[in-house]
């Protein structure tokens, strides 16, 4: 069982061109920032949005084929959806909501009600069957929406921002529930999210979507190890620079002219020929050293600027320096105090050339 998507959707000022596959047994996350085209892609999968070109195929069945003039109506698609903002029908009880996909497809009221009740009980929320959505807590509503997505044995389970409606504390619990639900579902599983934590913890494979296009696909580990765009790098907490790497007459180093301004000296990787090459350079924030005064020492890259932000996270803190190019350093909280770092203060950052990972763009 496979979902194969290769579509183009045109809107006035926006074009989505997305191509990806998902196989039964794996969870694929479509991960991207707001405005990347995720909602449009969800619309294409559910059939609410008709693509302008391309195909959507599920288990060999064409759901969309623009050239073949085929568009399967939303109601005829074997897809279970947990919608963004849940979209529980406010005038129906929890049980009626879960029964809705069955009733809509012609199942008799009695059988639909029994199945819905069982589905609610499976997610341990059977006691709220008679409640209207307005009376449910956030977590309860989440479970009802999940039960509704699973009912009727869909071949594709589509979770659209499944935890975005919840506060942070409730997300963890729902994520566990989603993880176990996903692992028990044997059809194709697609998770749409802007939340990197959700994507990394629930998905087997990531499809990174930006500005209407797929910029990277890979396992969470692969994306973590080698993000291809600034967005992906920010997700995994890595500094990323695009630019041209120029030879400087040394055998194992080059000068990177960063696209947005500034330059860095980096080790020349073995697999890139020693000529001017467009590359991506990655720096782990933990490899960046922060100084309150201009550092003396062996590091070949010294950047100077003011501290833009300091974000504490447990014993660690991330310091964003508005240098050229800008850089994020991860330091201990102790050193924040020791270096007297405050937002707006001047500071220096140093990075060794060997700490900069260069990959071809």
């Amino acid at each position: 069982m496979t979902l194969e998507v290769d579509v183009t959707v045109r809107r006035e000022a926006f074009e989505l061109r997305a191509s990806f596959e998902a196989t039964a047994g794996e969870t694929v996350a479509l991960l991207g920032p707001n405005g990347a085209g995720k909602s449009t892609l969800v619309g294409v999968l559910t059939g609410i949005v008709a693509p302008d070109a391309g195909t959507v195929r599920l288990d060999g069945e064409m759901l969309d084929d623009v050239d073949g003039d085929r568009h399967v109506a939303p109601e005829a698609r074997p897809i279970g959806v947990m919608f963004q903002d849940l979209l529980l029908l406010p005038h129906l009880t929890a049980e009626e909501n879960v029964a809705f996909p069955l009733r809509a497809r012609g199942t008799s009221a009695g059988i639909a009600r029994t199945s819905a009740r069982r589905a609610l009980e499976a997610l341990s929320i059977g006691e709220r069957a008679a409640a209207k959505p307005g009376a449910l807590s956030g977590g309860q509503a989440q479970r009802v929406a999940l039960a509704r997505a699973l009912i009727g044995d869909p071949r594709l389970l589509l979770l659209d921002e499944p935890t975005s409606a919840l506060d942070v504390s409730a997300r963890g619990r729902i994520r566990e529930l989603l993880a176990s639900t996903l692992s028990q579902f044997d059809g194709v599983r697609v998770l749409v999210t802007h939340d990197p934590v959700e994507a990394m913890t629930l998905a087997d494979r990531l499809v990174v979507l930006e500005n209407g296009g797929v910029t990277q696909t890979g396992t969470p580990d692969e994306v973590r190890a080698a993000p291809r765009t600034t967005y992906a790098a920010d997700l995994v907490g890595v500094n990323l620079y695009r630019g041209n790497l120029e030879p400087i007459g040394e055998p194992d180093a080059g000068r990177l002219h960063v696209a947005g301004g500034g330059e860095l000296i980096a080790s020349w990787p073995d697999d890139i020929p020693v000529v001017s090459t467009e590359v991506i350079a990655l720096i782990r924030p933990a490899d960046v050293v922060v100084h309150a005064v201009r550092p003396e020492g062996s590091a070949r890259n010294v950047l100077h600027g003011t501290v833009a932000t300091i974000a504490a996270d447990g014993e660690r803190a991330r310091v964003r320096l508005s240098s050229t190019p800008p850089i994020v350093a991860e330091v201990t909280r102790d050193s924040i105090g020791r270096l007297r770092l405050t937002e707006g203060a001047a500071a220096w950052a140093s990075v060794k050339a060997v700490e900069i990972r260069v990959v071809s763009a």
């Binding site: 559910t46 109601e75 959806v81 979209l87 406010p90 005038h91 809509a104 497809r105």
Partner: protein, 269 residues
């Protein structure tokens, strides 16, 4: 509780004008109450002609509201959900009865559906006669109150979260099923509000009914027409009949304010 000085107050003279305005719209009601011949209330109100007219009014207004809902809700759906050329013109035509003098509506209906009207022949051929019948009174009042249902329904559709209907389709609902199980139930408050407004408007209809359906006691003489007729011979008795309409109107206002136009709000945008 403390009152803070507000920078957006109104000039004192304006308050005086506003008081005159309130008095202006209140005085007629006061007049009816004070000038009505209460001593004859026991004779006039239960009289067979008043009761007949009142009963006919309720029947005609209710039928008109139902006709408006059956025809008006699809029009509102068309205007909000279907893109087509000339939509502005269609909306203007549909809303026109709201501002059109009812008498003009009445002669228009005669010209269209009367015996010598453009559709009079075909209607007669299938055995339907509208002018000067109770059905004709329903048609005339439905015509005049039609925009109220369309406007209320349209407002409801615009404030509705359209994603709920998309979701219902993605969950397997065919268009008719989604309309029946999702759209209309979610619209219920606006449908009731529009229906009640249309009903109230139909109840008070005079001009179009008189032109198209006439003033036949027991068949087309609704309460407003009865008030008009009784006024010719018995002005103070007519005030008692008029008072009936005042009471019904106030009841409608209370119903709308309390339940349908109040603070009730559903869902998130």
């Amino acid at each position: 509780m403390t009152h803070r000085a507000r920078s957006t107050g109104v000039p004192p003279g304006l308050v005086a004008i506003a008081v005159i305005g309130v008095a202006f719209v209140t005085l007629p009601i006061v007049g009816i109450v004070l000038r009505a011949d209460w001593s004859r209330a026991g004779d006039v109100l239960p009289s067979s002609s008043t009761v007949t007219a009142f009963r006919l009014s309720l029947t005609v207004a209710t039928a008109a509201a139902i006709v408006d809902l059956v025809l008006g809700v699809p029009v509102a759906l068309l205007l909000t959900r279907v893109p087509f050329r000339g939509k502005t013109a269609v909306r203007a035509l549909v809303v026109l009865p709201l501002v059109l003098p009812p008498v003009v509506g009445g002669v228009g209906l005669l010209a269209a559906l009367g015996r010598r009207g453009i559709l009079g022949g075909p209607l007669e051929a299938v055995g339907v006669t509208l002018p000067f019948t109770t059905t004709g009174a329903v048609v005339a009042t439905a015509f005049v109150s039609f925009p109220l249902v369309v406007l209320a329904t349209e407002a409801g559709l615009r404030s509705m979260d359209g994603r709920l209907e998309d979701a219902a389709r993605a969950m397997g609902g065919r268009r008719w099923y989604v309309l029946r199980r999702v759209t209309l139930p979610l619209l219920l408050p606006q449908l009731v509000a529009g229906g009640v407004l249309a009903w109230a408007r139909a109840l008070g209809e005079f001009g179009a009914t008189l032109m198209f359906a006439g003033n036949l006691a027991g068949r087309t003489q609704t309460l407003p027409l009865a008030v008009f007729e009784v006024t010719q011979t018995d002005p103070r008795g007519a005030l008692l009949v008029a008072l009936l309409l005042v009471v019904v109107s106030i009841a409608v206002l209370v119903a709308l304010r309390g339940r349908f136009l109040g603070s009730e709000r559903r869902g998130s945008p």
